[in-house]
Structures are given as C-alpha cells and as structure tokens.
Amino acid sequence: MKFGKYVQDELFAIIAGVLFWLVLTVFFAFFYISFSFILFMTVLFLFFAISVLLWGFFRRRKFYNQLFQNLDRLDQKYLLLETLDKPDFYDGELLCQAFYEMEKSMCENVRSYQHSMNDFKEYIEMWVHEVKIPISSLLLMCHNNQDTIAPKYARQIRRLSQYTDQVLYYVRSEHAANDYVIKKEQLGKLVKKAVIQNKEDLLENKIDIHVEEIGQTVMTDGKWFEFILNQILNNSIKYKSDKRQPVIHIFAEDLPSMTILHVKDNGIGICEGDLPNVFKKSFTGENGRHHAKSTGMGLYIVKKLCKSLGHGIEIKSVAEEYTEVIFAFVKNDYYFIS
C-alpha cells in the first residue's frame, strides 16, 4: 500500500482541513488574536491532522499488505480469507464479509460440480460393467460357433472391449482415489496375462513376441498395470512396420533401487518432434494421422495411471526403427513393513 496513493484518496478530507484552517486563521486575524497563538493553533492542528492521516494509513496498510502477500503465496487463492487477521476498521470488515459470501457460494458451486462428476463417474463405471456382459456373450457366441462365424467378428468385438476398458480406466485415472490396491505382484505373471490377452491380435498380425524370464516382484495394482501393458502392446501391434518381421521384446532388469521393465518393438517408431508430446491428452502426431486411427488418449491415460501408482514411464524411439517403453518400479522398504 502506497502512502502517496492513500493521500490522494484522502484528498477531500485534506482540502476540507486546509479550508477549515484558513477560515479559522482569517477569523482569528479579525479579532486581533496574537500571531503566536495562531502559530500554536496551526502546529497543534497539523499535528492532529497528520496523526489521524497516518493512523488511518497504517492500520489499513497492515491489513492490505497481509492480504496481497498471502494472495501471492497461496496456490489455492480462494482460501485467502482464512489466512487473514480480522481487520479493525469498518470498510475492511465489509470487505471480509463480501469475501466470505463469495467463498461460500463458490464452495457450493464446486460441490455441486463434484457431485455431478461423481454421479457421472459412477454411471460410466456401471455402464462399462453392464456393457461387458453383452460383449462377453458375443465373444462366447463367436467361440461356440467358430465354424459359422468368421474370426473377423471376434476381432471387432475385441476392439469394442478394449475401447470400453479405455473409458473405464480414463474415469479411474481422473478420479483415482480409492479404486486401487497396491500389493506385491509377480511382474512376469502380469506380463504373461497382458500378452495372452492380445494373443489373437499378435498371431493374426504375425508378430513374434519374445518375453525373457522375468522373476522380479514389484509393488503395483495388478489390474491397472495389466491395462497399462495392454495399451502398450496394442500400440506396438497398431504401429508395426510392414518392412520387416515385427518383433516385440519384453525384458526386465534389476537395479539396486528399482526394477525396470522394457517393452521394445521394431515398429514404425515415433518421429523426434512428436516424442515429447506423446503423453499429452488428445495428441495424435504423425503416426496418428498417417497410419492407424488414433484417439490420442491411450498413452495419456497410461501416464496418469503410472503417476497414481508411482511408477516411472519413459518412451524412447527412433522413427522407422523402434519404440521402447520403459517402466521403473521403485523398490521401497516402506511397503514391506507389515
């Protein structure tokens, strides 16, 4: 709070004071009151006037400086009111009252959005579970009538199932509060499950899959990580190169502080310019435009899920050569305290 500005604001009071002094002085002069008395009155008047001005300034400055400092330091600025001392002047009190009303109405607003988001999330989850029932029936029907139903139908149903899974995990990644259980999992088993899930697509696309012996255990949510691997394998299948025999190589390594899982393919790769953006929402890039149709959501969801689970994820790639997805699982003794 600047003193100059404050003085400007109080200009009317100051002018009134000066006028009052002038009138008084002229009045005194009429009655031949001694000059020294007028001087004394003037000094006294000035002393009181300046005191009142400064007092008003300082008590406001204390409040407003705190207000702006806290506003600067807060990352959630709407909490400002809670951090302020109660002002001891009237206009400050009015301001706080207004703040309070604003905060309350905003909280109510946010709350109603939260409610509707939660309702929506619950509905989507329920819907996905419901829609999996007909998908299951269809898959079973295809399997039971293999001689009359061509495999292409089953393929489309599998796609349908993958897209519904994506919706489910998108919702979960946006509201990851209580949906996951982190426990000791055998990494090799999770990899196997994800690979078997994609068995038909891998075989149809004639992709060779090499999985090295993976004996490590990691702390993760099995279901979530299976979905993550599934997305990565889907991408490898989708973006295989037609110029060579497609191969996906999966292997793990053990470092002192973490376990690393590599999923490496020899597909079309990702061009250098696109690489920093692959985890961004709705980013499709060169590959999404020219090759397979892409929603740009898969890797975004994967990244978010990894973040919630506390796994590192990184993608290395050279266009036309390979794409390698690297997961890092931190080894933390904290988890093993029972």
């Binding site: 299951s136 029936s137 079973l140 399997h143 001689d147 078997i196 068995k199 090499h210 999985v211 979530w224």
Partner: protein, 220 residues
C-alpha cells in the same frame, strides 16, 4: 464327466457358457432360481462352480462365504467388476480363481481344467496304453526305454492327454503354450507338433496324434 454349475443371471451368457462347457466335454448345470441359492448349490453336487458376483438379490461374495462353510468344491468367480479390491476380497473368501468379463473362452477353459486337475491331486505321472508319461520331467517311458521331450512338446502332449478322445483346437494348444510362457507363433506350433509326432513315431507310436482338418488334433 465333470459337472460344472454355472451361476449367472444373464440368460444369454448362461446359455453360451453351458454350450462352451458342453463342447469341451463337461456336464453343465445352470442355476435358474436364486431364491434358495445356497441349498440348490449344495444339492447340485458339482465338481466346480462358476459364480458371478453380481446376482440380483444376493451378493456373490457372501454366497461364496456361505458355500465355503459347507464344502471345499472349487469356485471360480466370474465378474465384470474388475478392480483389484474385488479380487482380493473374493480370494480371501476362498475363491480358487477370479476371472473378469469379457473373458477369453479358451483361457476360461484352461483355468477350469487346471483347477479341476489341482482339486483331483493328480500325480504328474499318467499313462497312455503302455506308455508311462512323467510330465514334470518331460519323459516318456516304455519299459526301460526312455524318450525325452522338450518343454513345448510336453505341454502339447499333456493337453492332448487331458482331453483324450476329444478334438483339441490349435487355439487351445496355443493358449496352453502361451500360458506356460512359451509365446510361439503359428509356424512354431506346427513345427513342434510335427517334431512330437516324429519322436513318437520313432518310439513306435505312429499316428498317435490325428489331424482333423480345420478342427484340430486328436489323441487316439
């Protein structure tokens, strides 16, 4: 023939599941009235139960706990709820396995046969004609003569042995191999089968494995 009880409220799935199980030469029974589920289940005397968690009017997890008080029959939970928490809960109530919809039918059958085998405590040694097959060691014995099979060949033979007299599709063999971390492709499967045949022929068992065109293989 093993009897499998299907507890599932969706009629379409129920029918398809029984058909799938019957095609795989199991006897399939379905529970249609869920009012007195526990008694009906116990009365059915099944060798294995496929239990859906979401059945109107009763909670699959609680039902499982009730069943567990009475019998040790293997139970596979089948559900579209696929959170880790549900799985942990089901397993703690005594489920033998937990499979989420939409399941791959071949994998479902593989799991069922694995659990039934586990429940029977079958030894890893079985017999075919005058052959003695030790699958854990990968050795076939005829009197004093021994024949060593590779891991893949043994897996293939084991699946065929388990379903002796029934046609086994390539998909089933493939799934069994992949389930044992042998991610072979179509060509490799063909090669493995012909090697297995050649080895068996050398051992004096020609035409032990028959090919049924477009259907699969058959151990005769």
């Amino acid at each position: 023939m093993k009897k499998i009880l299907v507890i599932e409220d969706d009629v379409a799935i129920r029918q398809e599941l029984s058909e799938l199980l019957e095609n795989a030469s199991y006897e399939a029974a379905v529970l249609e009235d869920f009012v007195n589920a526990k008694n009906a289940i116990l009365a059915a005397g099944a060798d294995l139960i496929l239990l859906d968690i979401n059945i109107p009017g009763l909670n699959g997890e609680l039902l499982l706990r009730e069943i567990r008080k009475e019998t040790d029959v293997p139970v596979v939970m089948v559900t579209s709820r696929d959170s880790e928490a549900d799985e942990v809960l089901s397993m703690s109530y005594g489920a033998d396995d937990y499979i989420t919809k939409p399941y791959n039918p071949t994998i479902l059958l593989l799991r069922i046969s694995a659990i039934l085998k586990r429940a029977e405590h079958t030894a890893s040694v079985c017999h075919y004609k005058d052959l003695c097959i030790n699958s854990a060691k990968g050795v076939l014995k005829k009197g004093e003569e021994e024949l060593f099979l590779t891991k893949n060949e043994m897996i293939i033979l084991q699946v065929l042995l388990d379903k002796q007299g029934v046609i086994v599709s390539r998909d089933e063999l493939m799934t069994a191999l992949w389930d044992n971390n042998e991610f072979v492709n179509d060509n490799a499967l063909t090669v493995n089968i012909s090697r297995l045949r050649a080895k068996l022929a050398e051992f004096g068992y020609e035409d032990m494995i028959e090919t049924r065109k477009k259907q699969g293989y058959l151990l005769v």
